[in-house]
Symmetry: C2
Subunit: 391 residues, 2 copies
């Protein structure tokens, strides 16, 4: 049966399937692509009289089939939506306006959908994002570099994506937040969960000022394989991945290699050869990875992407397609020179956090630029000065 | 007039010219290439009646011409040869058996000749050599890495070339010496000079166990431009250059860029981004430089040079072309398994330092290999075991 064309039915089926399918399951991903979510859910929930099982999709064994059916039986999409709503999260899936199209590069391992906690548009923020990842048990040096990259990228108008973990991830998120910047945490558990526990406040702050996202439904916990598979989402979402300290066989290298396979930029911050926590980074840099020493070098590399780089060719969407909130913030910017976030928020009649979120959206779309702590219109957006009269 | 064909006359002229021409002087180098050393010396020393000056070679102005002539007037090749002999040094120039042909890659900046202090054959040692260079005012980390590379390369049978300076250079030389290995110091002054003063003993030890070489005649002192131009010799002599700690605009980077232009391998040891002494290395690694973290990675890279790598195809010269000294050392190696330097020296009837010098020559020529502290015949050199009888 062909997939139902009604988007709402598909969305509901995808919500249910985030509780049924494990992230990155290639066989199920293929089945989903070929049959569509509504049909997949139907097959998994229809009654199967003993001995009359329909043929299973290719690559899915009897035991796995039984497990999927058992989970599908227990799925309660309405309850998951309610649990998500309680922490301010929504569900975003392929076909939705907010779906980041670059995740489609993952092919059959594309997430079924993403649970998204926070105000900004995931799709628009992800357009100008860079991943900064690395060791949990990092050194002072690693933490320093991650924080410096986080703040330096934020100051240049880039969205900093990481995994919310201790060590490098946390330092990168905090660096971006500390610079009044934009950051996205991609979790390996439900977005209503605080993992690691010690990052409860950090994750709440990211959700307030940025986005906390993940494939897993509310209440779900991380597992080792979920951590590994979460990394492909970080890699695919961003224009490039910077690794700051990683031992051999570190999860951060998984992200970097995924980024490489996906044609994203792969970068590494070197360290002393005598530090085991730099060994993985050096291995990366001996291959395809590019050595970077500061945010400017990162921005220079990932900013040079032709088609995706709106600063090269002005806004990527017409002004009248902006959401009313974004349009109000854009209107609050002066015709020339920079303005501060509090001033912009006041003039747009909104809260500073909301203004920041809109400003990064407008940045991704090529309307505005960040310079230090000020924001201004891009050259292409500025109101042209009337030419001198000829007579 | 065509250059005189008599090699001895050419050698004498080149000896005189090392006191007249500044290292790396391109205009004079071109003149030397076109006219030959005997003719260049003749022109510089012939009497020029007032107002009857012959046309000067292209690119050499009147003032420079007068300076060259004044220096040629004072040149005393016999005295220089005697001064060199007093520190056990000889003169090696193009056309000599011992001249390292790879220096010809320098074109018109090729040295006029080299003063060579020490026992081993410069040509043969240089066949399997790597440069390890870097900051004078290096950190503990830089000194540690230079020493580790020096000893690690020596243990793998590589000749370690450096500039004899404080810091990284000295650590690299000491690392090689400490591993009972081969090392060459390329000076920016006469090989009878001890520069820097604090390295007097180190340079003596290098001359004893390896080679101290340079373009400048006995008694000459270094100048800033001589330091810079000395670096092209280090780059051209070796198969590759490793930079260990270098600030921006460091002399070690000059060596690295020269190596690059000459088609040699250029490598760098990364360090903390927060260290200014690694900034130059990182700049190199963001370009064509290859990141290396230990001697094995260096050896792997420079060893992979096809035609030049004798270990891939056995000895590069027939056994009966070896010098008697080298042949005796080769004969002292066991048919199978390794032997120590003292045992080899005893069996060859020579001193351990001489045995080491010969062993590195034999290594360059593909006859022997070093494994830790032992030496053995290469697979191609081993006496074949008689095949089992058929009847």
């Amino acid at each position: 049966m062909a997939p139902d064309a009604a988007p709402e039915r598909e969305r509901r089926a995808r919500i249910a399937l985030t509780r049924v399918l494990e992230p990155g399951d290639q066989a199920c991903g293929r089945w989903l692509r070929e049959s569509g979510p509504a049909e997949v859910l139907r097959r998994l929930t229809e009654s199967e009289p003993d001995g009359e099982t329909e043929e299973r999709p290719p690559g899915i064994g009897a035991k796995r089939w039984a497990g999927l059916r058992a989970r599908a039986e227990r799925a309660e999409p309405e309850r998951d939506l309610q649990a998500a709503a309680r922490v301010g999260a929504r569900f975003v899936c392929p076909g939705d306006q907010e779906w980041p199209g670059q995740l489609d590069d993952l092919g059959d391992t594309r997430p079924v959908g993403l649970w998204v906690r926070g105000r900004p548009s995931l799709r628009i923020w992800a357009l100008r994002s860079v991943a900064v990842v690395g060791a949990r048990a990092c050194t002072e040096y690693g933490a320093h570099m991650a924080a410096a990259l986080g703040s330096g990228l934020a100051e240049r108008g880039w969205v900093v994506v990481s995994g919310g973990a201790y060590g490098v991830d946390g330092a990168a998120h905090r660096g971006a937040l500390g610079a009044g910047g934009a950051t996205v945490a991609v979790l390996a558990c439900g977005v209503d969960q605080s993992y690691p526990r010690g990052h409860t406040e950090l994750l709440d702050r990211i959700a307030e000022q940025g986005l906390v996202i993940g494939e897993l439904p509310p209440g779900d916990h991380p597992t080792p394989s979920r951590f590994i598979l979460r990394n492909r989402v970080i890699a695919a979402l961003t224009r490039g991945t910077v690794v700051v300290e990683a031992a051999y066989r570190s999860g951060a290298l998984v992200t970097a290699r995924a980024a490489q396979r996906l044609g994203r930029f792969t970068m590494g911050v070197p360290g002393p050869v005598t530090s085991g926590l730099s060994a993985g980074v050096h291995e990366l840099l001996r291959g395809e990875g590019v050595l970077v020493t500061d945010a400017e070098e990162v921005a220079e590399l990932v900013g040079d992407m032709g088609e995706l780089a709106p600063e090269r060719r002005g806004p990527v969407v017409p002004r009248d397609l902006l959401t009313p909130g974004a349009a109000r913030v854009l209107a609050a910017l002066p015709g020339r020179g920079t303005a501060s976030v509090p001033d912009i928020a006041r003039d747009a009649g909104t809260a500073p956090d909301d203004a920041v979120s809109r400003l990064y959206e407008l940045r991704s779309l090529g309307f505005v630029e960040r310079h230090g702590d000020g924001w201004q219109l891009t050259r292409q957006t500025m109101v042209p000065v009337a030419p001198p009269s000829c007579d």
